[in-house]
Amino acid sequence: MTERATGGFAEEARSGRREEAFETLVTIYQHKVYRLALTMLRNPQAAEDATQETFLRVWKALPGFRGDSEISTWIYSIARNRCLSMLNRSSSKCEIGMEELPEQTAPPHDPDPFPTLMEALGQLDGRQREAVALFYLEDKSYEEMSQQMGIPIGSVKTYLHRARRVLATFFQTRDAEVPADGKGTGQ
């Protein structure tokens, strides 16, 4: 898939099989893009909208994609920019209603894992959310994060360090408020 990722899809699109190439891309990347959008926007509906907009942009630009970067990197950068612009335009719209999280997305062994995380993400600004999304969801190295965010590696580390501190502190406060029931400490 990696070979194909660096331009094969665009080749296909240019050679008249744009719809097939696009459908394959949507199939492969829809969940990852959605998770990225969910992390940044904290709202399932907004995340779905952002994902749709992302893929529409991909659809329009696919024939012109030159393969300078991996196609996944290209798609994620479109998604992140889309989310950042949505956050900038109307942050209040993206405030999450915890009950809005679709139940089927929660793993069966832990019925309520995401509201805390989503609420905690609300303590971060857009760039910090971008950093944690790249780090946790895309498994990017500091160097890759630096390239994608357009900031020095030192700044990436600072963003991530501060973001993780805020999140950990939020979780800690939450645990202190909730009566001890063994929840929230992971493995």
Partner: protein, 126 residues
């Protein structure tokens, strides 16, 4: 090692190390902090299995098709308009060559425009 250093090390991903282990063994506050960092990591780990809603893909494909259809229609419409305008211009030129009277040419132009508008209207409907 003090609490600040210990927590910094925890945030930078270092759960090992003798100094840190020793500090955690003696500091309840940092143990709680370490547990919270692990809880954050675990929550993100669980987030990685979230799936997009099943309606997302069909909606995306539908919107892409609609966008493509709209683009095609706009191109077709532009080409139709150009063709109609060309016909009108040619008609006017021929008429002016045969009957070099402005009134006749103007009349023919009006007729041509009406025909073109009708043609375009039909094209839009179809």
């Amino acid at each position: 090692m003090n609490c600040g250093h210990a927590q910094d090390q925890l945030l930078d991903g270092g759960f090992g190390g003798q100094d840190l282990t020793g500090h955690l063994a003696s500091c309840a506050e940092c143990r709680r902090f370490a547990a919270s960092v692990e809880a954050v990591d675990a929550a993100f780990h669980r987030l990685r299995i979230v799936l997009a809603p099943p309606t997302l893909k069909p909606n995306v494909l539908l919107r892409a098709k609609l966008e493509q259809g709209l683009r095609r229609r706009l191109i077709t419409l532009a080409l139709d308009t150009l063709a109609a305008a060309g016909c009108v211009a040619a008609l006017a030129a021929v008429l002016f060559w045969i009957y070099p009277q402005p009134a006749v040419t103007a009349f023919a132009l009006v007729l041509g425009c009406l025909w073109a508008a009708l043609f375009r209207g039909t094209a839009i409907e179809t």
